[in-house]
């Protein structure tokens, strides 16, 4: 059996959990296993019914009054008990900041470690070989895990598609768990004063890199974004120069996105950028340098001056939209 973690805040789902469900369903098919999900909550979680609409064996709400707000101590205690009660082969989670915080603790407590941030898997002789990025994305590595189950795996955001999660109907069950001392006191989460953009939800992204040359020229990219109904994003040098705020940054030190369409304007495609956007459905690159690595991952490329191409695109899109 595979256990999947459902992440939520006040019973509002974190969508990457659906990607984890998809991953687990695929692995379950390959290894002839069943999938059960776990939702830690302080009540009979409002999410349980929604999640029970997927093709799963069971939805377990791990319930304790101390699980209303996330803490690593609370979640570790809850997970330890659920795992001991259910004996999973695999524990599959999305590689979110919250999972990075508590999953290694749970694993360590059970004498295990986490194979983290995986991008794909294959099944060999009934066990998984997992692939993950290393060396800041410059190399991939195939990983195996030894010893007895459970094996802990987290998948990178975008490695699987949440809308591919198979629907069905699952039984729901509440498991009362005990939670010991919580050694940390959380305050309320907050957003920094500046407007913050969640580019992970964008369907279309227009991103600019060094090739945009000056802050004034960003307006041109913004026009293209506007006619496409897209969000504007950037590579790191643009945000370091304060031409766009840091919450627009895509890449290893910024956001990781997987929109339907990603248009890279004047972005050479340093690996730190590519790791943040390579899972886009369609990638368009416009760059003067035919050797720029961005063309390695692009579906469509224009080798040429973006200041010639973009105004034409804007006009043609307006025409096409009538």
């Amino acid at each position: 059996m595979i256990l999947v973690f459902i992440e939520h805040k006040n019973c509002v789902l974190n969508k990457t959990s659906l990607e984890a469900i998809t991953a687990a369903q695929n692995i379950a098919k390959a290894l002839s296993l069943k999938v059960t999900v776990v939702i830690p909550c302080d009540k009979d979680c409002l999410l349980a019914q929604e999640i029970a609409g997927y093709d799963l064996e069971k939805v377990i709400v791990a319930k304790n009054e101390k699980l209303g707000t996330y803490t690593p101590d609370g979640y570790a205690d809850a997970w330890e008990q659920v795992i001991k009660a259910t004996n999973p082969q695999y524990v599959v989670m999305a590689h979110t900041y919250q999972v990075r915080d508590f999953a290694p603790k749970v694993a360590a407590r059970l004498g295990r470690e986490v194979v983290g941030d995986c991008i794909r898997y294959r099944a060999e002789n009934g066990k998984l070989v997992l692939s993950r990025r290393m060396f800041l994305g410059k190399l991939d590595a195939d990983i195996t895990v030894g010893g007895e189950p459970p094996y802990f795996i987290t998948f990178q955001s975008g490695a699987f598609r949440g809308d591919n999660a198979a629907k069905g109907s699952a039984a729901t069950e509440t498991m009362d768990v005990t939670v010991g001392d919580i050694r940390m006191t959380p305050e309320e989460p907050f957003q920094e004063a500046k407007a913050s953009v969640d580019l992970t939800k964008s369907a279309v992204i227009v991103a600019v890199g060094r090739g945009i040359k000056s802050q004034e020229n960003i307006a041109l990219a913004q026009q293209l974004a506007d006619v496409l109904g897209a969000d504007l994003a950037a590579s790191r040098p643009i945000c370091d120069a304060d031409w766009l705020p840091i919450d627009r940054q895509i890449g290893s030190s910024g956001q990781t996105v997987a929109p339907k369409l990603y248009i890279a304007l004047g972005i050479s495609g340093a690996i730190q950028h590519i790791v943040g956007m390579k899972n886009a459905g369609t990638i368009v690159a416009i760059n003067k340098d035919a050797e720029a690595p961005i063309f390695d991952i692009a579906d469509y490329g224009i080798v040429g001056d973006l200041f010639e191409a973009v105004p034409v695109m804007i006009e043609e899109i307006k025409k096409a939209k009538g």
């Binding site: 190399l139 195996t144 305050e187 957003q191 920094e192 913050s196 369409l261 416009i286 010639e308």
Partner: protein, 252 residues
């Protein structure tokens, strides 16, 4: 603090295809570990007392990480010497470090968020579990005025969200790059470093059956066929592209 390949180094895969060839490339202190040291120094300065001990695990060559840390202001160092550190799993690394630092009874243990080579991102958390102390990951600010048997820290959440937490000491924090500006080592600091204590530890590292093992490293796969539009004419390419966006990608 960990020694890793320099960010700009051209990486070549080692002959056994299980790591990179580190013998002929520049090495550096892992970025977020450098920030962890800086935060430790600033906490000590804010408190006006205390000692900053730096610990690294790695081969003799990792001494340069220690020298650099001592020159920046760390008071003394522990070097857990291993020749095969890239073959150790995070659980083994954390266990070896715990054995080396447990008796120091540190009030605060700071690590980087993750390494820029293997990027396991869990050594700090496993350390905390083994030491029996609470932890916080991805810490982007420390309220240094809060220090009094407890500490108030700000964690980075996703999508521009943050959250403050209060911890009783001892505690372990994994530090995000960019938490503060890293200082340069002064000439005085470099001279003073030569007199500081470095304790070498030779760990006995047990087999860990549940370890993750790198079977093979390789260049990321190229999966795409790129259609180049416009034959070098950017305007023509732009018109063709919009047509593709309409008929093939269907976003217009």
């Amino acid at each position: 603090m960990k020694q890793v390949a320099n960010k700009d180094a051209v990486l070549r895969i080692s002959s056994d295809e299980k790591w990179i060839n580190e013998s002929d490339i520049a090495m550096q202190t892992n970025e977020s570990d450098g920030y962890a040291l800086e935060e430790a120094l600033r906490i000590k300065e804010a408190k006006g007392e205390g000692e900053v001990i730096v610990c690294t695990l790695g081969p003799q060559g990792a001494k340069s990480v220690i020298k650099d840390a001592l020159a920046r202001g760390a008071d003394r160092a522990i070097h857990v010497i291993t020749d095969n550190s890239n073959r150790l799993s995070p659980f083994q690394v954390a266990t070896a470090i715990v054995d080396a630092i447990r008796d120091e009874n540190a009030d605060l243990v700071l690590t980087g968020l993750q390494s820029d080579d293997a990027s396991y991102g869990q050594t700090g958390v496993i350390l905390a579990e083994h030491l029996g102390i609470p932890h916080a990951t991805i810490v982007i600010e420390v309220d240094r005025s809060s220090l009094n048997g407890s500490i108030r820290i700000k964690r980075e959440l996703e999508s521009g969200w943050y959250q403050w937490f209060n911890y009783k000491l001892p505690a372990l924090l994994t530090i995000q790059s960019g938490i503060s500006q890293i200082r340069y080592a002064s000439l005085k600091g470099i001279m003073a470093a030569k007199k500081k204590e470095v304790r070498d530890v030779t760990p006995s590292i047990a087999d860990f059956p549940s370890a993750q093992t790198i079977q093979k490293v390789y260049m990321p796969l190229k999966t795409k066929q790129t259609q180049i539009l416009g034959d070098g004419d950017a305007k023509k390419g732009a018109a063709e592209l919009v047509e593709k966006l309409k008929t093939e990608v269907r976003v217009i």
